[in-house]
Symmetry: C2
Subunit: 117 residues, 2 copies
């Protein structure tokens, strides 16, 4: 991704990695410290820390200092923009396709309904 990426791209990008999605799922069960999270992965702690940074930059989590620890917490609103994009476009496209179906059905039947295969 080029620098200065827009927020929506950052959100989708953050979600485009199994480790990061799993981090989100773990945090979905409750807040956790970085080490508590890192223990669940076959990966160095810094690697997890870096993944957390990606998630944080995308607005999907927050890390707050709590004494010696950093408490990681989900930010559900961080998912809003991505959710809106996906839902909106799926709906539009589906509507368009349904329209096409109607056009096909009402107007002109295919000469060879199952010519493929």
């Amino acid at each position: 991704m080029p620098i200065a990426t827009d927020p929506l791209s950052r959100s989708f990008f953050a979600l485009a990695d199994p480790t990061r999605r799993r981090l989100l799922e773990l945090l979905g069960r409750g807040t956790a410290s970085v080490n508590e999270l890192a223990e669940r992965f076959d990966m160095s702690r810094p690697a997890i820390s870096q993944h957390l940074k990606v998630l944080e930059d995308a607005g999907l989590i927050s890390r707050t200092k709590a004494g010696q620890y950093r408490t990681c917490e989900l930010r559900p609103e961080g998912l809003s923009e991505a959710e809106a994009w996906v839902i909106e476009h799926r709906a539009l496209w589906q509507a368009r396709f349904d329209q096409l179906d109607e056009v096909i059905r009402g107007q002109q039947l295919p000469a060879h309904p199952e010519e493929e295969l």
Copy 2:
């Protein structure tokens, strides 16, 4: 992204780029040839072709040969998995947060409501 990426990661990754999202939006208005799409961008045709490949690999579009042209078409179902993931998790997290609110309100008020700062 490492090789052998899972389908969900590929979908999110494909969406994590403004050019690719704009391609999807253009295709949302109807099918188009590669050149028709490429004309809309300040980018070489091969670059668009490569973006289309990412979208195709993610199952978000299909390219079918039509004579001299390739007709690009949206595949709304390609968005299903990503849509499901986002919707499901948002709902879960929101529910969790609402629960937390209840716990806080009903059970025990913080001793120092604003100790930070």
